[in-house]
């Protein structure tokens, strides 16, 4: 799976879960938690979705809440090997 597809899947999941309009997440540096798009309880489900995308478990003890700041930070934290230099 390429980086563009991963970013798209992350965006769609967040918008679907939150019920927010697409313009709330039109750029990959737009805030997710700060804007209240996801709650603590949503994050549990979101981590399982991320695990399904990367086909590996997430070590929750190794991450801080700020990895959920934006799609950019999510890709950096959970898909570090897939960065291709595509613009966000």
């Amino acid at each position: 799976m390429d980086e563009k597809r991963i970013r798209q899947d992350l965006r769609e999941w967040i918008l679907d879960r939150s019920g927010a309009p697409a313009e709330r997440l039109s750029r990959d540096d737009m805030p997710i938690l700060e804007e209240g798009l996801l709650s603590s309880l949503d994050v549990v489900e979101f981590i399982l979705f991320i695990e399904s995308l990367r086909e590996a478990e997430v070590d929750v003890e190794a991450i801080e809440p700020d990895v959920f700041t934006s799609i950019d930070t999510l890709v950096d934290a959970f898909f570090p090997d897939i960065r291709s230099g595509l613009p966000a």
């Binding site: 709650s39 603590s40 994050v43 489900e45 399982l48 399904s52």
Partner: protein, 288 residues
């Protein structure tokens, strides 16, 4: 109806009478073969009644039952960890001094033993405790809301857990070690539930009248979401993978959406939801 402070001395006496030693209570077999026994009652297995379940043969179902019981013990353990920490923080407060704090010591002692018991089973036979995926984000609370949310979480993990304990402790078809762990857990939890229900009722009566409509609606929304999320713990993609099933995340989604599984969750939550409605924290049974 007795208050929590009136119940506490009786519960403390019962805890002393029924005290047990976690290190000598069990004869731990050297190893367990996942496919050789039932470890969870089949009707309690997360995907029971789904198309995926129907396609499994008995050996595959037994193997799944092993990883399901490891998952059950794992998330109850992780539910009890913040419970212990929260109970410790609530001891020796002005409103818990005396018999309530005396009972909280027993509550903590018993929860600590449960965590040891579950951890021993999971580590010894599965090589790990399934990690939880929770991240706590900071939030603001109305007055009394944090304590009420805490005891709601306690009741959810204990009431759902006890539903499973009750079914498995007398199930002769599952491995006797698992039945015994469920029995021991249930006996302690019956006291914890009695105390927790009464204490939460008193907290709600004290603080909820001062909440405005928005605060009450926000809490009710959170409580439904928390209960739904707690049921999600039963559908662990790692369990399905360890049991040899493909597309663990897809199976989780199937289980969460399947009508038979929904009916099961609704039935298993009926007592808990009825209690939350009775004390005014839920307005109607949620869609689970």
């Amino acid at each position: 109806m007795a208050t929590a402070a009136e119940l506490a001395p009786r519960l403390s006496d019962a805890s002393i009478r029924k005290s047990w030693d976690v290190y000598s209570a069990f004869d731990w077999p050297e190893s367990l073969d996942p496919a050789a026994h039932w470890y969870m009652s089949p009707e309690l297995i997360s995907i029971h009644g789904t198309s995926v379940w129907d396609d499994l043969d008995e050996t595959a179902r037994k193997r799944l039952s092993f990883y399901e019981i490891v998952n059950f013990f794992s998330f109850v353990l992780y539910g009890e960890r913040p419970l212990v920490s929260g109970l410790m923080n609530r001891m020796y407060r002005k409103n818990t001094l005396g018999p309530v704090t005396d009972y909280l010591h027993h509550f903590v002692d018993e929860e600590n033993k449960h965590m040891i018991m579950f951890g021993m089973f999971c580590n010894r036979y599965a090589g790990r405790v399934y990690p939880e995926k929770k991240i706590v984000l900071p939030r603001e609370y109305a007055r009394g809301e944090e304590d009420i949310a805490f005891y709601c979480k306690v009741l959810i993990v204990e009431e759902l857990g006890d539903y499973y304990n009750l079914k498995m402790m007398s199930d002769k078809t599952i491995h006797p070690l698992v039945a015994r762990i469920n029995k021991i857990h249930h006996v302690d939890e019956a006291r914890h539930l009695g105390f927790g229900r009464e204490y939460l009722r008193e907290l709600v009566a004290e603080y909820r009248p001062a909440w405005n409509d928005e605060e009450l609606a926000s809490f009710r929304k959170w409580l439904v979401e928390y209960l739904v999320s707690s049921w999600g713990d039963f559908y662990n993609p790692a369990v399905y993978k360890d049991a040899g099933l493909a597309d663990g995340y897809g199976i989780r989604k199937l289980g969460l959406q399947d009508a038979t599984c929904r009916s099961f969750r609704t039935a298993a939550s009926e007592k808990l939801v009825g209690y939350f409605q009775e004390i005014g924290l839920m307005t109607e049974p949620p869609v689970l």
